[in-house]
């Protein structure tokens, strides 16, 4: 194990949060070892070390994995039950309504409460929204410029960290998701008045985000 990899290993263990390449680089740049290294080659070396660590821990009880854009030590999932026994704590369970709301926000972000409600066909409780916010899984990122100026929700960083995602693109494949046009085509050759109006709103929202 080379010195750099050892340094990075120590940093990842010491950090409370996932550490990304840039953060590691900034910390290393201050050290005397790296005085004469260019930033670019240091970044490349860090990346090499990280993948070396990732490989090394692949078959052990703990792992070095990339979440939310950074690297972190985590226990291997196969020991979940054992570690839960250590904590004597019930695994936090999520209600279906919370999961559905979270899924809609994750895949359609930014989105409004009205849209979530129309997709789920039920009212969404403020408590549940507050709970998801409190966990850092969702956050308000602005208001939609329509009457009432409703909040626009998106996923927060903790969502990536807790669900082991490196970025939103790592979400379970949504390509099998029909987009709204396909939905309408499938449902009928022609659309009736009501859904089209909803439809356009949704599309507008999407294009606004781009």
């Amino acid at each position: 194990m080379n010195h750099l990899t050892a340094q990075i290993e120590a940093l990842i263990l010491a950090s409370d949060e996932p550490l990304n390449v840039q953060k590691i680089r900034d910390l290393l740049l201050g050290s005397p070892d790296c005085e004469h290294v260019s930033v670019d080659s240091l970044s490349a070396n860090i990346r090499d070390s990280l993948s070396e660590l990732e490989t090394h821990y692949q078959r052990r009880g703990i792992q070095v994995i990339q979440v939310g854009g950074g690297w972190q030590f985590r226990t291997a999932t196969e020991h979940a039950e054992l570690v839960q026994r250590l904590w004597q704590v019930k695994a936090p369970r999520l209600s279906r309504s919370a999961l559905e709301t979270l899924a809609i926000i994750a895949y359609r972000q930014p989105t409004t409460r009205a849209e979530i409600e129309s997709l789920r066909g039920v009212r969404v409780s403020s408590q549940m929204i507050a709970n998801l916010q409190e966990r850092g899984w969702i956050k308000v990122i602005g208001r939609k410029e329509v009457p009432g100026r409703p909040h626009l929700f998106a996923t927060g960083k903790q969502f990536l960290v807790d669900f082991g995602l490196n970025g939103l693109k790592d979400l379970p494949d949504s390509s099998q998701l029909m987009d709204d046009d396909e939905l309408n085509l499938a449902a009928a050759q022609t659309a009736s008045d009501q859904p089209v109006a909803q439809q356009e709103l949704t599309n507008e929202e999407i294009s606004n985000n781009e």
Partner: protein
């Protein structure tokens, strides 16, 4: 339209009532119930037998004993949309759009159901992902090398609240209820009283002297009574109308 047609539409399928009873608690709303009915009977989402489904849906609503108003709203709205759909299906002349194409009145519902089903599936997939603190865990003790001087952790009120809530969720509801109804001030005052008595007894008057205002007085008295009940302190009055002494336990004689 003749009455017999209507009747036959409503009672078109003898299986309409044959489904096992379900409780709405198991569902996440009307769309969830409809999907259950459709998938259970292997029906075509894009060709829903509206009359039959409406009947089954209404049957389910009917057997619910404790449908609370808050929750029932969404279900009743769906019931009325279904009945409206059913009546539109009965129209002799199909509805057409601007270009003269036929409109299937069910298309809106079908699109809604497909969209919901997709998100329901995604929610399931999300739930199956390894989740932090359920399936995997991060390191917990600060891994200090001997030479590292660790700065003191920062105070974080939000984190504190979340932690407390996590505890509450783990203990049973009874305890949770108990905690909520306890007035914060009294707890504070209990600590205060105990602290004042740490080095010996004190007359009640003197202690109350430090409690400005009626609210504070009442809270202090309640705190004293609670401490007394818990046998953390003793309250003594040696003669009628004499001074009331508060004593920490173990120092009373």
């Amino acid at each position: 339209m003749s009455e017999s047609t209507q009747l036959s539409l409503i009672q078109s399928d003898p299986d309409a009532h044959a489904l096992p009873p379900v409780h709405l608690d198991q569902f996440e709303g009307p769309l969830d119930v409809l999907l259950h009915l459709i998938r259970k009977q292997k029906l075509d989402l894009f060709d829903i037998p509206i009359a039959m489904i409406t009947q089954q849906y209404l049957d389910i609503l009917e057997i619910q004993e404790d449908l609370d108003l808050e929750m029932s709203g969404d279900y009743l709205v769906m019931a009325s949309s279904l009945m409206q759909l059913k009546s539109r299906m009965l129209l002799p002349r199909p509805e057409t759009d601007d270009e003269g194409n036929d409109i299937d009145p069910r298309s809106e519902l079908a699109a809604q159901l497909v969209a919901y089903e997709q998100y329901r599936l995604l929610a399931e997939e999300l739930n199956e992902r390894p989740r932090l603190n359920r399936d995997l865990f991060v390191r917990c003790i600060f891994p200090e090398a001997d030479d590292v001087e660790r700065p003191l952790p920062l105070a974080d009120l939000d984190a504190l609240l979340i932690a407390f809530r996590a505890v509450l969720k783990r203990v049973n509801r009874e305890v949770r209820h108990q905690i909520f109804t306890e007035p914060m001030n009294m707890r504070e005052q209990m600590s205060f009283v105990l602290q004042r008595l740490q080095h010996g007894g004190m007359p009640l008057d003197e202690l109350l002297h430090d409690s400005p205002g009626i609210d504070a007085l009442v809270t202090t008295i309640l705190a004293i009574l609670e401490l007394w009940r818990q046998q953390s302190i003793t309250v003594l009055q040696r003669e009628h109308f004499g001074a009331i002494m508060l004593l920490p336990r173990g120092k009373e004689q």
